[in-house]
C-alpha cells in the first residue's frame, strides 16, 4: 500500500541519515569503539521487518543500527547509546555494537560473529514451546556463514522446525575478504538452505518490496509450523567494514557502480513512477528526517553520563557481589 511504501522509504532515509551523522560523530570522537554503518543495506532490514508483526522478535549482529531503527527504536536512544549516555538504549553500557530494546522485541546487537545464531534459534524455541505464534528473524553477514555456531543452530532449527527466519546479508565481503576467498561456495542458499533441508531463497536485498515478499512467505511458513527459512539477501555496503576501514580493497569504479543500485534511490524513483510521491513531498520527507536526526543528536549530546555507580548495576538480577 502507498502508506506502507512511504513509511518504508522514510525508514530507509532515516537510517541513511542516522549513519551519515554517526560517521561524523565518530570522526569527532564522540562515538568510540567500533562503529559499523548500515548504509547501502537499508532495504534488507526495512523490507523484512516491515513484513513482520510488531510482536515478532528481531536479533542481529554488530551492524545493528539499521535493524534497530527499522524496528522502531527511537533514534534519540540509539544515538544516546552511541554517545555512551545513560539514556541510551543499553544505558551506555553496550555501545554501537550492542543495541537492545526489549519493548520492541529487539534482542541485540551481538558482536561475536555467529554467536547470536543459536540465540535466535532459542528465542524461536521459546515461541514453539509456548505456541505463541511469534516468529524470530535473525540477521548476519556472509562472513558469519563460516562460523560453527551457524551449523549447529541451523541443524537444530531445521530438525525441530523452529519458527525462525535466517537472513544472511550477503554484501560480498567479510571485512576485507571477498566472498570467494572465505566461502567454499558462492551460492549461499546451498550452504544455508539445501545443507539443512530448509528452503533457501536468494533475493535482491536492494529491492525492498521483494525483500518484504520473500520474508512474508517465510514468516507464514514459520507460523504454520513448517519451520525455518534461509534467505540470502544480496546487497552491498557503501561504507568501510567499520569506521576504521580505509577500504583499500575497493576501486572507485566498483563503489560508483554500486551507488547506481542504491536501494533508496531505486525506491524513490519507483514510488515516483507510481505517482505515490513527488519531488516536493520527497524534499519535505528529507527535511523532516534531517530535523529528527538533529534532535536525536541534540538529545544525545545533552543527555547525562551514567553515574559511576552504574558500573556495578545490571550485572545480575540478584544483588551483585563483586569478588574483589
Amino acid at each position: 500500500s502507498r502508506n506502507q511504501a512511504l513509511g518504508w522509504l522514510r525508514q530507509m532515509l532515516l537510517i541513511r541519515r542516522f549513519e551519515e551523522r554517526s560517521a561524523m560523530l565518530y570522526q569527532n570522537q564522540k562515538i568510540g569503539g567500533f562503529c559499523h554503518l548500515y548504509s547501502g543495506q537499508e532495504a534488507v532490514a526495512v523490507g523484512s521487518i516491515g513484513a513482520l508483526r510488531e510482536d515478532d522478535y528481531v536479533i542481529t549482529a554488530y551492524r545493528d543500527h539499521g535493524h534497530a531503527l527499522a524496528r522502531g527504536m527511537d533514534p534519540k536512544f540509539a544515538m544516546a547509546e552511541q554517545l555512551g549516555k545513560a539514556a541510551g538504549c543499553s544505558k551506555g553500557k553496550g555501545g554501537s555494537m550492542h543495541f537492545f530494546d526489549a519493548d520492541k522485541g529487539f534482542l541485540g546487537g551481538h558482536a561475536i560473529v555467529g554467536s547470536h545464531l543459536p540465540l535466535a534459534a532459542g528465542v524461536a524455541f521459546a515461541s514453539k514451546y509456548r505456541n505463541d505464534q511469534k516468529v524470530t528473524i535473525c540477521y548476519f553477514g556472509d562472513g558469519a556463514m563460516d562460523q560453527g555456531a551457524l551449523h549447529e543452530a541451523f541443524n537444530m532449527a531445521s530438525l525441530w522446525k523452529l519458527p525462525v527466519i535466517y537472513v544472511v546479508e550477503n554484501n560480498g565481503m567479510s571485512m576485507g575478504t571477498q566472498l570467494h576467498r572465505h566461502s567454499c561456495l558462492i551460492d549461499l542458499t546451498i550452504r544455508g538452505g539445501t545443507a539443512y533441508g530448509m528452503p533457501g531463497v536468494a533475493v535482491d536485498g536492494n529491492d525492498i518490496e521483494q525483500m518484504a515478499k520473500i520474508t512474508l512467505e517465510a514468516a507464514n511458513r514459520a507460523r504454520a509450523g513448517e519451520g525455518p527459512t534461509f534467505i540470502e539477501a544480496q546487497t552491498y555496503r557503501f561504507r568501510g567494514h567499520s569506521m576504521s576501514d580505509p577500504m583499500k580493497y575497493r576501486s572507485k569504479e566498483e563503489a560508483e557502480k554500486a551507488k547506481e543500485r542504491d536501494p533508496i534511490v531505486l525506491y524513490e524513483s519507483l514510488l515516483k513512477e507510481r505517482g505515490w510521491i513527488n519531488g516536493a513531498a520527497l524534499e519535505e520527507m528529507h527535511e523532516k528526517i534531517k530535523v529528527e536526526i538533529d534532535e536525536a543528536i541534540e538529545f544525545a549530546e545533552n543527555a547525562p553520563e551514567p553515574e559511576l555507580s552504574a558500573l556495578y548495576e545490571d550485572i545480575s538480577v540478584a544483588p551483585y557481589l563483586p569478588q574483589e
Binding site: 538504549c89 544505558k91 537492545f100 524455541f125
Partner: protein, 327 residues
C-alpha cells in the same frame, strides 16, 4: 527425610521445579530417551514428555546458545552438558552471552538458566575427559558457580539455581553421583546461593574445600582428631560469589587454613580464595595457607598415575600438620 543418591537428589530438584514452574525444561544429549548418560534424568521423559525433556544433537555451543536465547524471553532452561569437559566447545556462549547479556542490554535481558553436568578426575578417562572448569567460570563476573558435595546440597542447591534469575554454572562430580544421604522432602528446601557450610566443626585448623574434596577432607579431619587435633571443614558450596564471611569466621577462629581442591593449582579456586583470605585477615594467620590440589599436569589414563594426581587423605593430613608446625 528420604535417603537418596546424589543423582536422585539432582533429579528430585529438577522434577520438583518442573512441576512447580511450566517455564522450566531440560535440554541436553541423551537426557530423554536414553534417560541420561549418567541416569540423572531417569524417568523424566515419561513424566514430562518430549516438549520439556529434549534430546539434542552433539552441539554444545548451539544448544547452550539456544538455552540462553530461550531464557532471554522468559523460559528457564536447564542445559545439561553430558560432562563439563564437553562444555569448552560452548565456552564463548557462557562467557560472552550468558555472562554479559544483562549488562550489555542495560538490564533489559536477564538470563535465568542453569548449565549443569558432572566433572572431575573420575577414573581413567584421560586428559580430554577429566576437566574441572570451576576456576575458569568463577573468574567471570556475571556467572554464578555452584558445586555440591552431598545429596542434600545437590538437591537444595540445584533448586536454588533453577529459581535464580541469573545464569548458573552448576558443576556436579561424577564420582559422587552414587553417594547416598538424607535429603529433606520439603519442596521449598533451598540451599541459598552464596552460602558455605561448616561440614565439621573444629578449633585448631580450617580446611576450605568443595565437591568431592569435602569427603577427602572429612577423612583427614577424622585422622587428625585421633591425634587430638580439632579440624573445621568448611564446604564452600558456591564458588562465585564466595561466602567470605563464613570462611573468615572460621580462619579467624583457627588462625590456620588448608585449601583442598581437585582443580589445578595455578590461578585455581584455591589461589582465588587464599588471596582473599590473606587480603582480609593477614594478621590473623599463624601460618601460611597451604593448598592440596590436583598435580599440575594433564590427567593421565593410567590409574596409579591418575591416583597420584588427586588430593589424597595423606596429602591433606600432611598439609594440616604443616600449618600446625607438627612433625
Amino acid at each position: 527425610m528420604a535417603v537418596l543418591h546424589y543423582r536422585e537428589a539432582l533429579r528430585a530438584a529438577m522434577t520438583e521445579e518442573m512441576e512447580r514452574d511450566e517455564r522450566v525444561f531440560l535440554m541436553g544429549e541423551e537426557v530423554a530417551e536414553y534417560n541420561g548418560a549418567y541416569k540423572v534424568s531417569q524417568g523424566m521423559l515419561d513424566q514430562f514428555g518430549a516438549n520439556r525433556i529434549i534430546d539434542t544433537p552433539i552441539s554444545e555451543n548451539g544448544f547452550a546458545g539456544i538455552g540462553i536465547g530461550a531464557a532471554m524471553v522468559g523460559l528457564r532452561p536447564i542445559v545439561e552438558f553430558m560432562t563439563w569437559s564437553f562444555g569448552y566447545v560452548a565456552f564463548d556462549q557462557l562467557v560472552n552471552n550468558a555472562a554479559n547479556m544483562r549488562y550489555m542490554s542495560g538490564g533489559q535481558f536477564s538470563v535465568p538458566i542453569v548449565f549443569r553436568g558432572n566433572s572431575g578426575i573420575a577414573g581413567a578417562l584421560g586428559a580430554t575427559h577429566s576437566h574441572r572448569p570451576e576456576a575458569l567460570y568463577s573468574h567471570v563476573p556475571g556467572l554464578t558457580v555452584m558445586m555440591p558435595s552431598t545429596p542434600a546440597d545437590a538437591k537444595g542447591m540445584l533448586k536454588a539455581a533453577i529459581r535464580s534469575d541469573d545464569p548458573v554454572v552448576f558443576i556436579e562430580h561424577e564420582n559422587l553421583l552414587g553417594d547416598r544421604g538424607e535429603v529433606p522432602d520439603d519442596r521449598d528446601f533451598l540451599v541459598p546461593i552464596g552460602k558455605a557450610d561448616v561440614k565439621r566443626e573444629g578449633s585448631d585448623v580450617t580446611i576450605l574445600t568443595y565437591s568431592r574434596s569435602v569427603l577427602t577432607s572429612l577423612k583427614a579431619a577424622e585422622i587428625m582428631a585421633s591425634e587430638g587435633v580439632s579440624v573445621e571443614v568448611v564446604d564452600l558450596r558456591t564458588l562465585r560469589p564466595l561466602d567470605l564471611e563464613t570462611i573468615l569466621k572460621s580462619v579467624v577462629k583457627t588462625h590456620r587454613a588448608v585449601i583442598v581442591e581437585e582443580d589445578w593449582p595455578y590461578c585455581g579456586i584455591g589461589a582465588g580464595v587464599a588471596d582473599r583470605v590473606y587480603n582480609a585477615v593477614f594478621d590473623e594467620l599463624d601460618a601460611p595457607i597451604r593448598r592440596v590440589t590436583a598435580k599440575d599436569t594433564p590427567i593421565p589414563y593410567n590409574r596409579r598415575l591418575e591416583a597420584s594426581v588427586i588430593p589424597s587423605v595423606e596429602r591433606v593430613v600432611a598439609a594440616l600438620k604443616d600449618v600446625l608446625y607438627k612433625k
